[in-house]
Subunit: 257 residues, 2 copies
Amino acid sequence: MSQRPLILVTNDDGITAPGIRTLISVMNTIGDVVVVAPDSPQSAMGHAITINSTLHIEKVTIDGKQSEYSCSGTPADCVKIAVNEILGRRPDICVSGINHGSNSSINVIYSGTMSAALEAGIEGIPAIGFSLLDYNWNANFEHCKSFIETITRQVLENGLPEGVVLNVNLPNLEKEAIKGIKVCRQAKANWKEEFDKRTNPMGREYYWLTGKFVNMDKGEDTDEWALEHGYVSVVPVHFDLTAHHTIQKLNTWNLND
Amino acid sequence: MSQRPLILVTNDDGITAPGIRTLISVMNTIGDVVVVAPDSPQSAMGHAITINSTLHIEKVTIDGKQSEYSCSGTPADCVKIAVNEILGRRPDICVSGINHGSNSSINVIYSGTMSAALEAGIEGIPAIGFSLLDYNWNANFEHCKSFIETITRQVLENGLPEGVVLNVNLPNLEKEAIKGIKVCRQAKANWKEEFDKRTNPMGREYYWLTGKFVNMDKGEDTDEWALEHGYVSVVPVHFDLTAHHTIQKLNTWNLND
């Protein structure tokens, strides 16, 4: 790439979150950065889009020289409006994050961070979602920087296979303790929900959704294994959800008798 | 199955939508029905879950003898709270819909209807999302009934492959014009967004998200092909998003030099 690449940065924790500020600082060393991110936290929004209300964007200045816009919509909305109304040309890459908290294994499904990356992927833009395994607002993101730079430069250099985006998770360890970057598959894991039932001052019952993460997958090629063993995990994720290997089986059913 | 199956019914258009009322009437002919559905429309919510606010459920009576609960959360929340707090035992099947509007091809990603089905699938419950290709609130769902019954009975009889749920879309045609049920793959298609930019009475600019659906896939084994040619489409959908076929390629990159 002779010119500096045009990089779209977004997230789901909101435009002022420390995670996206770190991601922006890394991207400024690689290319020309435009930020379009939610004006408020949008965690666990999945792949929501805004079709029943209006969207607002506002040019903002927070730090550095990059152009920044806050958007009233979801992470997927941010990508759509950036590409169609703000950037003027197709970005060379879209990066989302750094999420405050894991998006490994089944969490990819619930993740606003990854929905932004998937939305970019659907539009044919190479895209990566980055997440750190630390939910704290004041998490230390410093050790993420060199890994994020390496992975982003490799994507710019090699391109991504068609219809694929990357889901990158970083362990919450000192930089020296991280063993390297590992390409993985999504572990088979889920959440065992527990609802915390309470009564409000007016006597009405309500619930908080909580839960425990359970990894059922003993494979050593999964993202969970990699993260537990001190690696940065990279899972190639696609948005053709067809379970192709089951079509033959379903065609043995009596659907048209 | 000797006993009548326990059937969990949900949707994303809200508990009073004509689509879910039709689905409930079909399920009453098959088993014992419990409805847990959003108290208001949740379309295009993707796989959102409610973690930053409280959830309320309310026992309601609308029609028929089935137990019904309206829930303040998203479709995925409805499934979680139904399984953990309401049903008392694991349901034999979860059906979601009938959605007012298509969830074929890439729409599966944005769909609240399908997120409920996927959530049930993640919890190991056989699940189906049903959608009719008609966005009208007063759409005619009568012709859907026999197809929905056939597919549901086949799932109860055969079970579903592990980690797979069904995405069923029904064409908006007279029953006699429908040629049958076809197992398909998700077509490669997307939305070309168009933002409708307006100015509010206070002079502030805002946007409405609109767009045009574009099917780039000429295959005759896709859901789009089936629907255009008068078939009910059935796509097996999974939630392992790993693009397994690309792992080998990514392992040739310089990630750890």
